[in-house]
Amino acid sequence: MSGTVLITAANGSLAIPAVHYLLSTYANYHALLTVRDDSDADGNTRRLRAVLSCFPPGRASIWQLDHYYWNLVDEVELTTDGFDKTFQVSHLAHVALILDLLPSFRPHEGGRIILLSSDAHWPGKNALAKIDPGIPEDLDRLVKPPVAPEPLNDNFALGFQRYANAKLVMLMWMYALNRFLQKVRHIPDCRRSVAYSLTFCRKRKCRMSPR
């Protein structure tokens, strides 16, 4: 088999060994890698480039794209869209990226979309969780959580809950995505790709520049 594998947050601590394993083991795949900062000023990007230097040129390309985020020390941070940053980067960016890329899967070849989940989605399973995750009645509270601290007044607990909620929502969205994909079985267009992680930027649209 051959094709293209898209990996976002490609200079992350999980992604770098994933890139190495992909290029080492699956010789017929090209890696399309996205990072927040594609300059050499970023130490993690330098590590990624060091891995790529072990392989022939052309096996991989690096693009700039915003990625994974959480904040367990500060209060709610909002993006320019006015959404909670953790939720936007961890879920909404995935939604936009994946749905934009669906037409790029080769017809008759299928493809796979891999989302990174966590036991944090399940109440009581993650030792770092002080407040259980859960889907609120008003779903807009997911993108605009209360800015003022709850009576708990614990930025770590609230920050982790926002992360856990994002993981729960992403997981639930995945189930709905599969039902959608089973209904729409004929995907037009050219290349197979696999969305790996999550990321995003301004105006809920991905802007990518190659380097």
Partner: protein, 115 residues
């Protein structure tokens, strides 16, 4: 005809991930850097779900491209199909999240019909 499928993978507790050292309290930072990371092999004897990023990376990529997993859908813990939380399996809520997410990212449902 092969399908496009989606999978969510829990890669395990990653003992040497940098995530615990970014935007985290000082105690978590030092716990990760000086205890969890260096003593990961010992900690794995207590908690088998604890793994290195290198180990988890193999699972993620195999799940993505290995022929053995073609057609797989749903929730995985490492490379084993598993069951996610009760709330996550609530289809009514899943559909609400699906349509709400379209609205949040500014995609109209009719655009999906053209895909």
């Amino acid at each position: 005809m092969p399908d496009v499928t989606a999978v969510a993978i829990d890669p395990g507790k990653l003992s040497d991930s940098r995530a615990l050292r970014i935007n985290t309290p000082t105690t978590i930072y030092y716990l990760s850097k000086f205890i969890i990371g260096p003593f990961g092999p010992l900690l794995r004897l207590i908690d088998p779900t604890m793994r290195t990023v290198a180990q988890a990376a193999v699972d993620v990529i195999d799940l993505a491209v290995n022929e053995a997993y073609q057609g797989e859908r749903g929730y995985f813990i490492s490379l084993k199909k598993d069951t996610s939380s009760p709330e996550s399996n609530d289809e009514r809520k899943q559909d609400l999240i699906w349509f709400k997410s379209l609205g949040w990212v500014g995609i109209k449902p009719e655009k999906l019909q053209r895909m």
